[in-house]
Symmetry: C4
Amino acid sequence: MQKGRLEAFSDGVLAIILTIMVLELKVPHGADFAALKPLLPVFLSYVLSFVYVGIYWNNHHHLLSSARQINGSVLWPNLHLLFWLSLVPVSTGWMGENHFASATLAVYGGILLASAVAYSILQNRLIALNGGPDSPLAHAVGRDWKGKLSPVLYLVGIVSSFGLPWLAGAVYVGVALMWLVPDRRIERTLQASSES
Amino acid sequence: MQKGRLEAFSDGVLAIILTIMVLELKVPHGADFAALKPLLPVFLSYVLSFVYVGIYWNNHHHLLSSARQINGSVLWPNLHLLFWLSLVPVSTGWMGENHFASATLAVYGGILLASAVAYSILQNRLIALNGGPDSPLAHAVGRDWKGKLSPVLYLVGIVSSFGLPWLAGAVYVGVALMWLVPDRRIERTLQASSES
Amino acid sequence: MQKGRLEAFSDGVLAIILTIMVLELKVPHGADFAALKPLLPVFLSYVLSFVYVGIYWNNHHHLLSSARQINGSVLWPNLHLLFWLSLVPVSTGWMGENHFASATLAVYGGILLASAVAYSILQNRLIALNGGPDSPLAHAVGRDWKGKLSPVLYLVGIVSSFGLPWLAGAVYVGVALMWLVPDRRIERTLQASSES
Amino acid sequence: MQKGRLEAFSDGVLAIILTIMVLELKVPHGADFAALKPLLPVFLSYVLSFVYVGIYWNNHHHLLSSARQINGSVLWPNLHLLFWLSLVPVSTGWMGENHFASATLAVYGGILLASAVAYSILQNRLIALNGGPDSPLAHAVGRDWKGKLSPVLYLVGIVSSFGLPWLAGAVYVGVALMWLVPDRRIERTLQASSES
């Protein structure tokens, strides 16, 4: 019951975050296709952030459906994650409107990094609540190489924003793809190499 | 459970899309009825898009309530559909504010087309998951002549936006009516003619 | 199940309508109390509309919890009601920003009238689905004198907007109070007078 | 069932309040870090209000999950609470944009005070419905020293807004921390001193 309401509230906030992002796509001035051109960077940053919020909803969904029990100590780690994700829309708009300028890329990466850290805290809290490192939840989460690699890559993105902005953008797109693409093979390879 | 949360999240996003569209109806300047006149095209485009989002909610509702099982592979096709539908409000506002100019009609049709394709992908994914072409879900979906005709009509609308904008508008209204009007008779006629 | 999702979607839309209305209360220019004064009419119209949307949520809640079964034929009457209610925020903002000018009062009353008609259509549809005039649902709805009186009063409000705007405002406030105040005594009196 | 829908609707409104607050964080003009500086007070007031809405969601969640039964008489006290909370975003924006000026701090405190009073009314209504002062719900609520102290502190904040604005700010932050920090020890101390 309590879990159901936590999920419902998180779904509500994530659904609103996903949807208010589109408000940054302002109705263009002018009635021809040329009027759409200035929207292109805002549109591209919208697509990227839509995918990121979708990934978080997806992971949050799997994490909570694997957790057997929750209690009050989960509420604030969950709100903490939602707080950072709530900053994604304004950061996305800032980045898009300024054509992926250095400072905007760094701040965007910083919010992705903070969200990733907040997600880890929530995940650790839930694992501790559900029986610790040998629990079914911990096994469902697994080695979580994506969750460990992402913050490192965000840091690479933040640093490369100054001087190599195209690399920062490529890193953010790459991390999103890493989460999107099914990863059986990569995971098996990594596991094999760690076992050898 | 997983299905419940997918529905709840989709409901949330669709409810927000439906409601933020009304934000394009800006509070009129002036306190008399004349001040409402410039709002008329925006209002008409709002009505049309409200009906379209309502149709998608309706169909999404029926599709998911017919599906017995879902899994993680449904999440992204579902988000993909929500992505295109999230572009309906800004596209509606652009069309309304520019009095149904050619480019705005073509883009509106393009977003309807993309949404229809995304819906088909989701539907096919769900049918594959639920037993394939002989499953109860496939029978519930049926011959889906509306789902197959709509993209063709959207294409007609997009092409006719240039030169025959009134036709494009008529096509978009017509497709909406096609989904709204109960269609027992049409369906029976089509079935009869295909059987003869 | 189907009923649950209809309620959830309606709750979502009503919650968003309730909340985006507050967006019409723009952050005041100026940092002293005097800066709040121009907000007063917008605030008053916000309170009135908040109460109206609350009444609709309340009645919608009772209506659906009394209905034992619903089907696809309820979806569009429900969306039709949500459509008119979705126009409450912009109409509220127009009325508040123009200090309850005649045209704005008439339009506000018109949207209240259309919402009341839409609610009746939904209620009749549900009664027909749940066993007709002798069903438990019909008995739960009862003589519905408030539901029958409200549209008449809205019409009085609309007509009196021109010439007697204060009366229109008083009527809209009065109808809201009529729904808010518990009405055992009034109902008993009316019943008694109709039986004598 | 009825309780489930009340929770769902409240969750929806609280999720939207939480999320539209971030709309006050406007996309900065300028593409460098200096462009973020004017956002700082708005950001700080956003963090504070996010925590407050989170606290209310948290408490509302515990209160309703402890209540065994609800009825129609709870709906308006609940909407009354949501009304005052719906004013938090605009008040937050006003305070942030005017760098915590006296009048804005007083109004912010006033809305916190009204929300606290509305919460008490809802809590008392639920306790009365669930068996009164000896019911399990009343025991779950306990001595509620935080709930009794908060309105007093908000009053201190409102009064000190004029002349000692920094104290008002400190009080609002302090009350939020008081609710955030786990309070076993404080509660035990208070209980001990009241028993001696």
